[in-house]
């Protein structure tokens, strides 16, 4: 009998995350080719709103695990619940978003099920009769194409697939009971904390000039800061720049920083790891300056310059200043 494709629904604060609908697109393609169903699994507590929103999401069936024990469950218990359900339905593939949630849960689920997991995937498709995933290696400058011969957990980067068209038919919802008494309780969520707002809100800027590790040295930051000024934009950065303390956390773009959609996002010396792309790929116009033509940032950029930022940036600053003085 054909086995289903299972999609793990990501949700927070009663809202379904947009990655879920993208996973359903990938899942629908696979399910069609494998001749199986598409099943969405949602776990948590007080899920009425989430399940309501999922009914027309395009899945054939929704599995709902709604239990008070899951309200403060950490990764260990969540992983066990998902593995319990997966053991019952034995899906051919389990699709998860490669977000912070997926990064934590994917290896746990795969290990409990004794199957492989492929994380950070940018594609999954049928190729020559085999389900094949594509995932980055080496800062994303290379892609591995891997054919899967057995069941696996596939964690897909956000933005890899378009959202699935809502369906006109409501999916059946099946409630799945779990053995919550026997869930591990050695880790518990105590509280959720929101980062306090900083001095600048890069999310409001129309032009963002962003630096990455390619800046090389703290002393060089003013070169790019000057460009941001000349363009009337704000300076932002990738995570490593914050990690070493060169710019404050509020300037960080990405999965664990801010999500921005400026009119212009100018990335200077940023490779374009998924955790960065997540925070800026919906910008209206993305311009990338990078020495490496294989840098994944060029995969989302509208305009690219393969070159040294220390040549291009000063020239652009000069041009912007001259144009400005002409206007004034």
């Amino acid at each position: 009998m054909a086995r289903a494709v299972l999609v793990l629904v990501e949700h927070a604060g009663g809202k379904v995350d947009s990655v879920t609908s993208q996973l359903l697109t990938a899942g629908r393609q696979l399910a069609t080719q494998l001749n199986g169903g598409l099943v969405a699994l949602v776990i948590g507590h007080q899920l009425d709103g989430v399940v309501g929103a999922l009914k027309i999401s395009g899945a054939d069936k929704i599995l709902r695990v709604d239990d008070p024990a899951l309200a403060s469950a950490a990764g260990e218990a969540q992983g066990q619940v998902i593995a319990q359900v997966a053991r019952q339905i034995e899906p051919r593939f389990l699709l998860i978003g490669y977000s912070l949630v997926g990064m934590e849960l994917t290896p746990a689920i795969a290990t409990l099920l004794g199957i492989n997991a492929f994380t950070n995937c940018v594609n999954v498709e049928m190729r020559d009769g085999a389900v094949t995933v594509t995932r980055p290696l080496f800062d994303g400058t290379q892609h591995a194409h891997i054919a899967l011969d057995e069941s696996a957990v596939i964690a897909l980067q956000k933005g890899s697939f378009a959202p699935l068209e809502p369906s006109t038919k409501e999916a059946a919802v099946e409630t799945v009971a779990i053995d919550s008494m026997n869930l591990p309780s050695r880790s518990q969520v105590l509280a959720i904390i929101e980062e306090p707002a900083g001095d600048v809100d890069i999310g409001k800027a129309e032009i963002i000039v962003s630096i990455g590790r390619g800046i090389g040295n703290e002393d060089k930051i003013p070169i790019v800061a000057e460009l941001a000024d000349a363009l009337g934009g704000v300076l932002a950065c990738s995570r490593p720049v914050v990690d070493v303390g060169w710019l404050p956390r509020e300037r960080q773009v990405g999965a664990s920083g801010k999500t921005v959609t400026p009119k212009v996002y100018l990335a200077c010396g940023i490779s374009g790891a998924i955790q960065h792309l997540t925070g800026m790929r919906d910008s209206h116009r993305i311009i990338a300056i990078n020495k490496d033509p294989n840098a994944p940032i060029f995969g989302v950029a509208h305009i690219g310059v393969v070159g040294d930022l220390f040549e291009i940036v000063p020239a652009l600053t000069k041009a912007a200043k001259e144009a400005k003085s002409l206007r004034d």
Binding site: G75, T111, L148, S187, V264
Partner: protein, 255 residues
């Protein structure tokens, strides 16, 4: 508090990265293996915790003899003991199986790992090892507070500026996020001295592992090649001045 830190050695400065003649592997000119940056943050955090709470820090690395350098580096930073498991694999299932078996041989209250390695970008090994060992875990941890002998509080990232504070009972495993502590500099003299310290090494057989479960299975690597661009960027060429002028026009028309 005794802490075990898993550190991977990855190619340091990679030049001339290219796909091997089999089309399925990567070849590069990199003589040096360096500590994977994410793991270095885990090591730093372990040393900070040791300073505050006492105990020993043991670094553990899976890899060939070349990865011994990374262990010396960790010893120079202040780790007390170093363990190498002689096994070379990029398969996360294998790496977590081997590391979990090695961790079983050690005494620890806490295991720290990084979030991902720069070569395989998988981010799986820490949590997978925790699951094999039956330990509670958290991923992308930005702060650790020791409550008492048996419990810690870990703050982990949820993304988008949100965090969760977790209480975990020890022993536990945490995948530490970059930036958790500033990286400290190790003077060359100390690095040289560290090479005198012993490194315990295990073969997989000594860990009681059979070779059969240590073979990759269930998948085939078809090819490794530079990314195909679905959405082709318009590439600007010319002198810096010409490119700057073109960019300025594009920026102007966008706002």
């Amino acid at each position: 508090m005794n802490i075990a830190v898993c550190c991977k050695s990855v190619p340091g400065l990679v030049t001339d990265l290219k796909v091997g003649s089999d089309g399925k592997s990567l070849q590069y000119q990199s003589q040096l293996l360096a500590i994977n940056e994410c793991d270095e943050y885990a090591l730093e955090e372990a040393l900070v915790l040791k300073k505050a709470h006492g105990g020993q820090v043991t670094v553990i690395s899976m890899g060939g003899i070349k990865s011994q350098d990374v262990l010396y580096y960790a010893l120079a930073k202040g780790a007390d003991k170093a363990v190498r498991v002689d096994c070379d694999s990029h398969d996360p299932r294998i790496a977590s199986t081997v590391l979990a078996a090695a961790l079983k041989k050690l005494e620890f209250d806490l295991v720290l790992t990084g979030t991902q390695s720069r070569d395989t970008l998988g981010g799986q090994v820490g949590v997978a090892a925790a699951s094999l060992l039956g330990l509670p875990f958290a991923y992308a941890v930005v702060g650790i507070e020791v409550r008492d002998e048996k419990t810690i509080i870990a703050r982990k990232e949820l993304g988008g500026g949100r965090y969760a504070d977790l209480e975990l009972q020890l022993p536990a495993l945490l995948c530490v996020q970059t930036g958790i502590e500033p990286l400290t500099f190790v003077p060359p003299a100390r690095r040289i001295r560290a090479r005198q310290q012993p490194v315990r090494s295990f073969s997989v057989g000594e860990l009681g592992l059979q070779t059969e479960p240590l073979a990759p299975k269930g998948y085939r690597i078809l090819s490794v090649r530079p990314p195909e661009r679905l959405h082709q960027a318009e590439l600007l060429q010319g002198s810096a001045q010409e490119i700057a002028a073109a960019l300025l026009t594009k920026i102007r028309e966008s706002v």
